[in-house]
Subunit: 249 residues, 2 copies
């Protein structure tokens, strides 16, 4: 039997003004380290932000979205090729981890750890929310957290005791996401049918109205994630990677 | 109480010659879709390889490592900006997801889903192993699985009923991975101290001997993940992203 937790899980964006016990947090952070990792290299690091001063400086870099402001703990998980490289340097090993392939390994390690942390924390009754904004301000967040070269903040989790039930949002039908053996041909009619569940979801219909658009796809593509913004942030992010000495050539 | 499963989990690389029931697999794949996802866009797709023919073609692209050969199911999770883009195109939305920022969102979504799948499957008694090789042969794997533009295979999971106990591998000490408020200064002595647990791990000492190296760092940096290989594969991977119409400029 699959535990009900997995079937009902929801992100939480509003937290009680109540601390998360340090020993509970310690156990969650430590247990999550049993998650799989590339070649057992643990190419990630975790910065825990709990002090009021640091929280008040970090939340604005996440555009002060409600979850970032109300959570007692913000956890920034970084792709970290630096610690392993420092170890290799200290051992006279001819290390070359400053490349795109190694970055993808560290990116994957960071997210695997993060999701393990989220699952364990939520199974303890805590609420969490990914702050998708972490890569929008990667450079400034790195400065604030003193991140060295060869590290990139990849995921930030707002964590605390829930002050809301959360909303069970819609998902695409399984046969639009999971395919047997081959990726199918997704023509216009099929793809519209797959996304019908999103078009019909009441909260989404409200977005369309509020934004005076013809349909939900336009809200996503033109309002929430517009091309210009995506491309500007991509450029900044690529420059930041270069600054961190990760080569993308 | 944190479930013991999380404290003891181990990857499995050897599987029984026993099918995974289709309805169990279906439930796992579907439940994992409740995992968090960027803006609820589900920027990932999943290709399930179960037929003998496809398995015999896919495993060699993972260098026929034992887990890839003995698993009854191989699951390839892709960063997928294509399905969402097709939907936007069908809805006359001016979509621009062919950029690095969107790729990082899709990469994160793919790994979040994958790790959720791994956790749910392992809690059902199944064994899993990430095949870190998926990005080494991303181009050929994409051809085999008919992946369209704007998709990139990110993670492959070997899945089946365990035919071994697995090995509980060593991890770095928590205070070498999780930091309070700021990233600390990792000088030569400190980093060597952090990695002592790896140097002292018996299986690692054997690697050093077998490879005639001075220490474990040299085994990792010069034998397992050498600079030249990393850079060659990085170049191929960046070319492949370009071929998939994901811009890295």
């Amino acid at each position: 039997m699959i535990p009900d937790y997995f079937k009902n899980r929801k992100s939480i964006r509003k937290f009680l003004p109540k601390e998360v016990d340090s020993s509970l947090l310690h156990d969650i952070l430590e247990t999550a380290m049993r998650a799989p990792t590339t070649g057992n290299m643990q190419l990630y690091s975790v910065i825990v932000t709990r002090s009021e001063e640091m929280k008040s400086r970090l939340a604005p870099l996440h555009f002060s979205q409600p979850a970032s402001v109300s959570a007692p703990v913000l956890i920034t998980v970084c792709a970290d090729l630096y610690r392993f490289t420092q170890w290799c340097r200290a051992c006279n090993a001819d290390v070359g981890f400053d490349n795109f392939l190694s970055f993808t390994s560290a990116f994957a390690d960071a997210i695997i750890y993060t999701q393990q942390l989220v699952t364990i924390a939520e199974m303890q009754g805590l609420g969490t929310c990914y702050l998708g904004t972490v890569l929008y301000n990667a450079g400034k967040i790195s400065e604030l957290l003193d991140l060295p070269e060869l590290t990139v903040p990849i995921a930030t989790i707002a964590l605390g005791w829930p002050d809301e039930d959360g909303v069970e949002t819609e998902r695409l039908p399984l046969d639009g996401v999971v395919f047997d053996e081959l990726y199918p041909k997704l023509d216009e009619n099929l793809v519209k049918e797959l996304f019908r569940v999103k078009d019909e979801y009441p909260a989404n219909q409200k977005f369309v109205e509020e934004n005076s658009k013809d349909n939900l796809a336009q809200v996503f593509a033109e309002i929430r994630y517009p091309k210009d913004m995506n491309e500007n942030i991509s450029r900044q992010l690529l420059e930041f990677l270069e600054k961190q000495n990760i080569k993308l050539k």
